[in-house]
Symmetry: C2
Subunit: 649 residues, 2 copies
């Protein structure tokens, strides 16, 4: 039944245009305007202003992100699967299918870790036909679908002696959260391959959920939101309104539309907002949008690290009080940064407003990317903005939610660069790549993007429509830049080029037209709202989209935690920049004039009168800063983002 319905849906949706490449030949090819992002629908979302471009429509070229995506593909994906095997996460499935005799291992929600790995692998297959990844993924799918109950239920925890406990402890035991990740993996796999095996299992499970949950049935939502966005995604994939309605039912149980502040567990809160934004894009119900926007305002105005990290406190992995953003003890879980990125992407799709793209970029280049080592298979769970040492990325955590989440974000990254709307094409992020896609009127278009971003702010976009035609290109002008310039074929454009907006370039485009964007990247000194007590009297250094940090390994002989930066009355520091190809995979180093304080380490007691030698010796130095995302890749070190400043006469 599921297979036949699925095929029918595909048949309905199939239409002309550029065919999406499918590796499968045994299935109808997916319709081209199906979503490849696993995140937000494009043409099928009637209340979204923007529509996503499939991951496979964007070919990344060597630049900033491709080496990281390749690290994920070549090292992250296989190494994490090995660890999921080693820790029994895959065996939990074999145990039920009878393929292996063993105890269940890992947290009750660890199925979701495997599902996120599957989604990551499926995204890889959308941009790289990697036989090794395909083989790994096929084997895992085989293990997963083998344990589906005849009624559709699929979970390794609520079996045997816990069989009767299904949906009995939703508040704590993440049952629907696991289901949501299964659904997302299934959609990503179907889009990658055209195969319906995993998607069929997901739909069977989702159908079961619609018979179990709802008014007059179980009227309870999961303690960990996630299934809502997955259900909307299944709705987008199949057109089955029951899934959308179930998502709305859960959102109402969370009283989503009545919420005014973002609070509690950061990943849960942001996933919930993803679901709310998704639901809005399909239904157009304004209260859901307004709640999402209110919470976004609360987050970005009062509860956000400059790195884009969210969830300040380890107590409940939660948002802290407004403006309570400690640096050394910041939690800023990697998963929460990812959740924020996903949420901002949805808000951007709904509106086309640049404020959401700015926040998405902030977290991608800083608080998300810090979550993974340069080598690609070690991860931070928490992302502090200051460390006295002892912090370390690890390949595995007992609660190993972050590692596969990092992989799926990296693997899906090509999908975040462009969108389409009725007016034309949108460019959100800058990196070397080539888009081969179509506008919403069906016209084919290629875009070649060339840049040294984020190290330099020059970007060239070569626009290749199938034939000359009038349409719009919306070019994102990041909120962080000053005096940006945009030219078409060497001519300054007439529209204003305003930071924090999309520059709307409407013209008749001829194949080979060149858009040249210039985003000057001076070293910028940032202060925080004074209600952020942790940053009072402190400044942070940014350049372009990157937050910088001072790491002890770059500053031998200086206590980076005790250094201060003189800032003149214009708010400027004395600085210089240098690109270093040999350092940390290639980074621009920012060096600033600073004052180092040399304390006597071990003498003088815990408290020392300055008069009696307790005063640290002060000397001028140049402090070297690296991008925050790259810290902690060279052994144990001390690190600080927010450094004290002193007025410079």
């Amino acid at each position: 039944m599921h297979k036949s319905r699925l095929f029918a849906v595909v048949a309905i949706l199939t239409s002309g245009g550029i065919a999406v490449r499918a590796t499968a030949s045994d299935l109808p090819r997916p319709k081209e305007n199906w979503k490849d992002m696993g995140v937000v629908e494009t043409s099928a979302s009637p209340h979204a202003r923007l529509h996503a471009v499939p991951v496979r429509a964007v070919r990344m070229r060597d630049g900033f992100w491709l080496p990281r995506m390749e690290a994920a593909r070549l090292r992250g994906i296989p190494r994490l699967l090995g660890l999921l095997e080693e820790h029994g996460v895959a065996d939990n499935f074999r145990r039920i299918s009878g393929r292996k005799q063993c105890e269940r291992r890992g947290p009750y929600f660890t199925d979701s870790d495997l599902y996120k790995w599957m989604e990551a692998a499926a995204f890889v297959l959308q941009w790289k036909d990697d036989p090794a990844v395909r083989e790994m993924l096929d084997k895992v799918i085989d293990e997963v679908v083998a344990i589906q109950n005849p009624d559709g239920y699929l979970n390794t925890y609520f079996v045997d002696e816990r069989k009767d406990k299904r949906f009995s402890n939703l508040a704590a035991e993440h049952e629907l959260y696991c289901a949501g990740h299964l659904f997302q993996a299934a959609v990503a796999h179907y889009r990658a391959t055209g195969h319906s095996r995993l998607l069929g299992a997901a739909l069977k499970y989702a159908d079961y959920l619609t018979t179990v949950f709802g008014p007059g049935r179980i009227e309870q939502a999961d303690g960990h939101p996630e299934v809502e966005m997955a259900l909307v995604e299944l709705y987008r994939t199949t057109g089955r309104k029951e899934y959308l309605d179930l998502a709305g039912f859960f959102l109402d149980l969370y009283r989503f539309a009545a919420r005014t502040q973002i609070e509690g567990h950061a990943v849960r809160a942001a996933y919930l907002c993803c679901g709310g934004a998704d639901y809005y894009m399909e239904t157009g119900k304004q209260p859901y949008w307004e709640a999402a926007d209110r919470m976004w305002q609360d987050m970005t105005g009062r509860k956000l690290y400059i790195t884009g990290g969210i969830g300040a406190t380890s107590h409940g992995e939660a948002f802290g009080a407004p403006f309570d953003l400690p640096n050394a003890t910041s939690y800023a879980e990697t998963c929460a940064g990812i959740a924020s990125g996903m949420w901002n992407w949805r808000m951007l799709a709904a509106t086309g407003q640049a404020r959401f793209a700015d926040e998405m970029e902030r977290v991608l280049y800083n608080g998300f990317l810090s979550g993974v080592s340069l080598e690609g298979s070690e991860y931070f769970y928490v992302n502090p903005l200051e460390s006295a040492g002892g912090h370390k990325r690890r390949p595995w955590y007992d609660c190993t939610c972050c590692p596969p989440n990092v992989l799926r974000m990296l693997a899906s990254l090509p999908g975040y660069i462009y969108s389409t709307s009725r007016e034309g094409l949108w460019v959100h992020l800058y990196d070397n790549n080539e888009l081969t896609w179509r506008l919403e009127d069906g016209r084919g278009v290629r875009v070649v993007q060339e840049t040294k971003y984020p190290w330099e702010g020059g970007v060239t976009l070569t626009i290749q429509p199938d034939s000359a035609a009038e349409f719009s290109v919306f070019v994102r002008i990041p909120g962080w830049c000053v005096e940006p310039k945009l030219r078409v074929n060497g001519q300054d454009i007439e529209s204003p080029v305003t930071p924090g907006t999309y520059c709307h370039v409407r013209r008749s485009w001829t194949p080979g037209d060149r858009l040249e964007l210039d985003l000057p990247m001076p070293v910028v000194v940032q202060t925080a709202d004074p209600r952020v007590r942790a940053n009072l009297g402190r400044v942070a250094i940014t350049r372009g989209p990157l937050v910088y940090c001072f790491e002890s390994v770059d500053n031998p002989g200086v206590n980076v935690l005790a250094a201060a930066v003189p800032v003149d009355a214009k708010g400027e520091v004395e600085s210089r920049t240098a690109y270093r190809a040999d350092l940390l995979g290639g980074v621009t180093v920012v060096s600033v004039e600073a004052v180092a304080s040399d304390y006597e380490k071990t003498s003088g007691g815990l408290y020392r009168p300055t008069r009696a030698g307790g005063m640290p010796k002060v000397r001028r130095v140049h402090l070297h800063a690296i991008p925050y995302y790259a810290w902690c890749n060279r052994g144990d070190s001390q690190m600080v983002v927010w450094v004290p400043f002193m007025p410079k006469d």
Copy 2:
């Protein structure tokens, strides 16, 4: 039986000398060298270098402490008893004696809150024959002794349905902790009045404990140390070695003598060390002393706030990691400060070493005294060193351990000023008072102390021995002072006058001899060991024994949390001082040159480029500082102890 044994003991100990005034006539007068401190024995402790002076031997005159003691007597004592009644703590006793039908209320350990109140009231009666206090205390004693079990057991929680649970959950339920506070209250009451009613009940309970606990009986200690020092005190009071042995038994269960670091719950750890030090002073067993000293070194070298507060973290109300001493989130429970004071007093008694007196003074004037309002009946539970507002003293807490603990410390304060040793007299603390006591050779001595301490460092001690005689006076030279001077009858003394020592003045004293101490009190700038990350790049201001803080109410228009202090290469700040009789009960205000940063409060977003107006405007101001203990007495305010410094050219 108890009464007769008690009388026998009293008879044995009674000897000549100055009689301690007792209000009771129905009992033999207590022997004069019995301890009045409820803290450490004097002549009876063979391994103590110093011996305490009874509380009643010191008559406080108007100065720094007397108004606070009077506030405790006149407002703190009656108001807290009212709240203990209101919250059912006294009713818990009436419920068992059948005098009232009601439910038990409050935490399982709340008996101890009443016992601490009783001890405080008893200490008041040692220096002030206050009929109202006597009447309140007599009534409470009547309620308490009425519920003693025939076997001696006395507790309001382990009755009725929990009757069989006696001593079954020592780790969590504070049963012996309550017993310890009962014993201390009983000793204090006996010393105040000569009445044995409460002491008799305590001894009966203690005798019962000796039959229940011990090798081959229950071999478990309480989760909250306390009873150990109380048992030693009962031993000192009665000479019954069983009590001392039981204290040693418990100490060994805690592996006290093997401990190397101070850790865990701060009050428990410090009370345990009190017990260990007490046990050492009676037994001379060196490992107990060495453990206490090791833990003291750990505390003062790595885990102590400049205010004397201990227990940095709210997690378990515990000591944090070494050097982890956050300011805004410091816990520094008032009870922990008191426990540290009590522990330092014991270490001082054991050795006569000034380092312990320095720490006792530090906590008394700062981290302890901040625990109570100037008005005398509102209390801090936690004592942060920085606050963005919202902190408030309260008359009551659901766990109301701190309020009665503050009262008993204030009420017992006269006992901490002097000691005796075989050589003569010791002076530890400075305030206006009159001592009428005797040296250990039995010679009567009066000392009149006159000073404006802690506002000025001049102290005059007029020594009045019964007749001219050679003996020593040990004058404490605080560790914080610079270039102190000490004169006898106008002549500089020959011995060195070294900060952080006792100056040993041995001579033949004639009635009317005057010791004049001069302790210069410049404004001192302090830095912390650089391993205290919270204080890197920051300084604190102290003067004399007082830690100062900048409170917003004294600095209108300045964000005190964003101000910085220029410090020159010599470690000096520009400052002036002024005594203000009208302010906060009379304080010396310290004003320092500083740089205020005026941030735009509400505009500009959470993060702001300094170039675009995000740079705070900087201006020179004079910041006014008040003693830390006095903060938060004028409504809600912001406060900071450790302020950023900047090098001054």
